[in-house]
């Protein structure tokens, strides 16, 4: 068994243990900490899968701020969960059904490490592998940079059987981090509205909760 597979199996086993423990434990403070451990283990797992950006977000959001926010919420709720042991069969059935559908969906995905996966054979990927760092203070003159730029664009266009069209080929990756490149250039509109969604969430909290604690009839717009 290769070391990578072994590491993956160990990490996933720990993830499952942390998940079950977080559900089962009665002390809510311990549950919050176990959820944080779960996120940290998932971040390690994403790192071994080479999904560094996902790992970064998982560590910052899952293990970082949501733990801190949940601890803040614990101040409101008290520390021990009320025990309720009855099994809700329809809920269990719905969960199993959705889980089975998700597993069924993964059957269509390329195998782990498959060199012929669409992500590796798509022409855009070839563009990404020959990129360099811009925004550099290296002292190169603007003309040099533009000349290199144009030569790069020319060779890339030839490699992909495209015609150069001036600023049309800007997407072929001038930034080393492909994920950020896709998120804020290729999908800039998408990210703009994601930011707007976060902003709306903040506005909703302000309208619904600000100044109303302990007196539901006081203040607010609603």
């Amino acid at each position: 068994m290769s070391p990578t597979i072994l590491l993956d199996v160990v990490l996933l086993a720990l993830v499952i243990i942390a998940g079950i423990a977080a559900i089962e434990v009665r002390n809510l403070f311990a549950a919050v900490m176990l959820a944080s451990v779960y996120s940290l283990l998932m971040a390690c797992f994403w790192t071994t899968m080479d999904a560094v950006d996902v790992a970064y977000t998982e560590a910052a959001v899952g293990a970082g701020i949501s733990t801190i926010l949940l601890i803040g919420a614990l101040v409101l709720t008290g520390e021990t969960e009320i025990v309720r042991r009855a099994v809700h069969w329809p809920a269990l059935g719905a969960c199993l059904l959705v889980g089975a559908l998700l597993v069924y969906g993964t059957l269509d995905m390329p195998k782990f490490g498959d060199a012929n996966a669409p992500a590796h054979v798509h022409p855009v990927y070839a563009g990404y592998t020959q990129q360099d760092v811009r925004k550099d203070p290296s002292g190169k003159s603007h003309g040099d940079i533009v000349a290199t730029e144009n030569a790069d664009a020319q060779s890339r266009a030839e490699a992909h059987g495209e015609t150069t069209s001036g600023r049309g080929d800007y997407f072929h990756g001038h930034v080393p981090n492909q994920v950020t490149s896709v998120i804020v250039t290729y999908r800039a509109l998408d990210t703009l509205f994601e930011t707007a969604v976060i902003f709306t969430a903040g506005m909703g909290l302000i309208v619904l909760l600000r100044g109303r604690r302990g007196n539901p009839l006081k203040g607010g717009l609603l």
Binding site: V52, D53, A55, Y56, T57, A60, V61, G64, I65, I68, L69, I71, G72, A73, V75, L76, V133, R134, K135, H142, I145, V146, E149, D152, A153, G166, R167, Y170, H174, V175, P176, N177, V179, T180, S181, I183, V184, T185, A188, L189, T191, L192, T195, A196, I198, F199, A201, G202, M203, L205, I206, V207, L209, R210, G211, R212, R213, G214, G219, G220
Partner: protein, 156 residues
């Protein structure tokens, strides 16, 4: 928690490093993993940690509510403003080539940087708002005296 010397010391030592790391994540978003969202979250986590240990009122003294409200809106404004600017220059919405005409490859990182700052600022403001609104009034010491703080005009 503010009477516990271990908590105070641990938090005091951690916050500067968290803040620096958030700025690193922000400025290197297009070079390595990370970006505006992660940066805003880490920066907010640093301040919220301060609020958890020293109390919400103390945190709101450092970062007042009107300021986080402003940041939440400002970030979206920066992002959308970048798009409007590119349109005003005669390019498509959020086509970063408008920032450096004739050198689209060089303009792209700058456009990405501006937009990432917008995302980071909004996420920081909204995360602080979430903490403020969730924990508001849970600790009797946290309640600001009415009429004195700048944020009483909001929502009351």
């Amino acid at each position: 928690m503010k009477d516990n010397p271990i908590m105070r010391l641990a938090v005091r030592w951690n916050i500067p490093f968290m803040a620096i790391f958030a700025l690193y994540t922000q400025t290197h978003g297009e070079l390595g993993p990370g970006g505006g969202f992660q940066s805003g979250v880490i920066m907010a986590a640093a301040f919220i940690l301060y609020g958890l240990v020293f109390g919400g009122a103390e945190m709101r003294r450092v970062v007042p509510r009107w300021f986080t409200d402003l940041l939440g809106a400002l970030g979206v404004l920066i992002y959308a403003g970048a798009g409007v600017y590119t349109m005003a220059m005669g390019y498509e919405f959020l086509d970063y080539a408008a920032l450096m005409p004739g050198n689209p490859g060089g303009a792209e990182p700058w456009g990405m940087t501006i937009v990432e700052y917008g995302v980071g600022i909004t996420v920081f403001g909204v995360m602080m708002t979430i903490f403020n609104e969730i924990t508001e009034g849970t600790n009797p010491e946290d309640n600001e005296p009415t009429g004195e703080s700048a944020d009483t005009e909001y929502g009351n």
